[in-house]
């Protein structure tokens, strides 16, 4: 276990370093004079020079990179060019929204995808299987933003069940918070469920053809126990891995979905930052997203080792 951990960490660190270079390079290539963002069009050359020094925008790019990296490592990601708010504060208010969205989305995906996948594999070739497969093929082809718009049209505008957009903090109004998160979570969750469904089905089919399943059936175990206990437990390993490796796709989905539903999350922060040329905010958001992806991938690998004793070597 420790060997797996150190090996993966040693692999991850250089990747992380390259990631920071890419983020810094990309955001510093964003067009436009950042001092215009800070001061507006009317400022004098002197004021601009002072703002540059203030925000650490003077000096050669490699030097700025090292300074930025050193500060980032200490948890200082600079200040927004728009609101002068520390980027870390922005992250602190944005990340919980995206985490809530992600949690509910994964919950929906698992609650729908897992049983559907199991049923589909158990009754392979039957009508359940056909229906589930068709739905999952559609689910994987539907773009998040369109599904979001359809849900708004049908459930918010049409039936008036949920608010079409916006967000209320859980601490202020728990029920309102949940009502606002249902549609966005469904948007990502339903697409994600298609993936979970497909993986579960494939994994279950593989497991159910194993000898120990035949043994379990031969010794007279009830079918339910064979499928759930002997089958699903083993099929879960690849399914968990796939969910873990798709975390990047989830963030990509959050960018679009938060835009559709006007959720003040990380994805919205990124899009707003790009349109407002607020590159410290863009750097912060992208850095957080990529770090999260790498950490979750690492955890997935470790979890894999925990779930499957054969991987430990």
């Amino acid at each position: 276990m420790r060997r797996v951990l150190t090996g993966r960490l040693a692999q991850m660190l250089p990747v992380m370093l390259i990631v920071t270079v890419v983020i810094f390079a990309l955001t510093n290539l964003l067009p436009g004079d950042p001092t215009v963002t800070i001061l507006g069009e009317q400022a004098t050359a002197e004021q601009r020079a002072r703002a540059r020094a203030d925000f650490g925008l003077d000096g050669p790019i490699p030097v700025r990179y090292v300074t930025w990296l050193a500060r980032a490592a200490q948890g200082d990601l600079g200040r927004s060019l728009r609101s002068n708010e520390p980027v870390v504060h922005m992250l602190r208010s944005r990340v919980p929204v995206t985490l809530e969205l992600a949690t509910f989305s994964i919950l929906i995906a698992v609650l729908i995808g897992l049983p559907a996948g199991v049923l589909s594999a158990r009754f392979r070739g039957g009508w359940v299987d056909v229906v589930v497969t068709v739905i999952s093929l559609c689910g994987m082809a539907v773009p998040y933003f369109w599904l979001g718009v359809l849900l708004i049209l049908a459930l918010a505008v049409g039936l008036g069940l949920f608010p079409p957009s916006g967000y209320v903090a859980f601490s202020l109004d728990p029920l309102g918070n949940l009502r606002h998160i249902v549609l966005p979570a469904l948007t990502i969750g339903l697409s994600f469920a298609a993936l979970v469904m497909r993986q579960t089905r494939a994994a279950m089919l593989q497991v159910l053809s194993q000898d120990y399943i035949r043994t379990a059936r031969a010794k007279g175990l009830r079918e339910r126990r064979v499928v759930m206990h002997h089958g699903l437990r083993n099929a879960l390993i690849p399914v968990v891995t796939v969910i873990g490796l798709q975390i990047g796709g989830l963030f990509g989905g959050a960018v679009v979905t938060e835009t559709v539903f006007a959720l003040p999350g990380l994805g919205r922060m990124l899009v707003e930052g790009i349109f407002q040329r607020d590159f410290p905010a863009v750097q912060g958001a992208v850095l957080f997203i990529v770090t999260a992806v790498l950490v979750v991938n690492l955890l997935t690998d470790l979890l894999y080792a925990v779930l499957d004793p054969r991987v430990k070597s």
Binding site: Q11, P14, V15, M16, I18, V19, V22, L26, T27, L29, L30, P31, L137, C138, M140, A141, V142, P143, Y144, F145, W146, V149, L150, I152, L153, V157, P164, G248, G249, F251, G252, V255, V256, T259, V260, L270, V271, I274, V282, V286, I289, V290, V293, L294, N297
Partner: protein
């Protein structure tokens, strides 16, 4: 795959080329057939739009703003009276062009990078693959979004951005294949016969890798289309008044009582993505069974 077959064991009658066997398998599977039919429809709509579209895609008609579907306007009209069906047809060309170019660019660059990494090995491979890993850690849309923001919203830049996000995938795939092929006898034979590196890569390695690369390319096409439409939804794709599916959905969202404005362009994206997925699955299955067949 042809280079892998020893010439001496040529069958008595000319067998169908592997490419033809592959294509026949794709067409005969239901997914392949469905995918081809949908794509042909979309492609025909795109290519024939200048003649077959019932209206101009950019002509404004203030008399007919946000009219629902009717015989005159099958998909209805948008907020300034343009025909939605015509705009969907013209939009097809824009999206397909971006997808095909982006995947082709990613295929070319990614394959070359992958071959260099796999063939050279050592620190070159280390460096290249770590950079590819780093790029892969970025969610596709996040990377594409940032690149387009830097280069400016325009179709060529969108194409370039999407290609960049897909390069690491091709590189990783090709490198893995080259690594296994390097150990194979016919490559060693070619090497000891004095073939140059370039010749071995082009004549012996590439033909054996290209099958999987094609499958990966067709699976990538659907992701490329989703990314393209998401970018244009966010306002970073084709610029108005040019029609583009993603942007049409975004505009339609602001007119919730005119559902046709967002439903029809979205349906076009959905069906095209579905077609690419079908083709990709069919291609993968066709390649798989061909390999199995050859091994036995």
């Amino acid at each position: 795959m042809s280079a892998a077959l020893p010439q001496a064991s040529a069958p008595p009658r000319p067998a169908a080329s592997p490419m033809r066997v592959f294509l026949r398998r794709v067409v005969r599977s239901w997914q392949g057939a469905c995918g081809l039919v949908i794509l042909t429809l979309v492609l025909t709509a795109a290519l024939s739009a200048p003649w077959s579209a019932p209206w101009s895609p950019i002509e404004v008609d203030v008399e007919r703003i946000t009219e629902g579907p009717s015989w005159l306007h099958l998909f209805g009209t948008d907020e300034i009276g343009r025909d939605v069906l015509s705009r969907v047809m013209y939009g097809a060309g824009v999206s397909l062009q971006v997808v095909v170019l982006a995947v082709a660019m990613a295929l070319l660059v990614g394959s070359i990078i992958g071959m260099v990494a796999g063939w050279c090995g050592g620190w070159v491979e280390m460096l290249i693959m770590r950079i590819m890993d780093a790029l892969m850690a970025f969610p596709l849309l996040v990377l594409a979004l940032t690149i387009v923001a830097i280069l400016g919203p325009d179709l060529m830049n969108v194409t370039f951005a999407i290609a960049t996000t897909k390069v690491p995938g091709f590189a990783r795939l090709v490198r893995a294949e080259v690594l296994t092929l390097r150990q194979v006898d016919f490559i060693k034979a070619a090497r000891s016969a004095g073939a140059s590196d370039l010749r071995i890569l082009a004549r012996h390695i590439w033909p054996n890798v290209s099958g999987n690369v094609i499958v990966y390319a067709s699976l990538s096409a659907s992701q490329a289309l989703i990314t393209e439409s998401a970018l244009s939804f966010l306002g970073l794709g084709a610029q108005p008044p040019d029609p583009s599916w993603g942007y049409m959905v975004a505009t339609g969202m602001e007119y919730p009582s005119s559902w046709w404005m967002s439903v029809f362009p979205g349906l076009a994206i959905f069906l095209t993505v579905l077609a690419f997925n079908f083709l990709g699955d069919a291609a993968r299955d066709a390649l798989d069974s061909r390999l199995l067949h050859k091994d036995t």
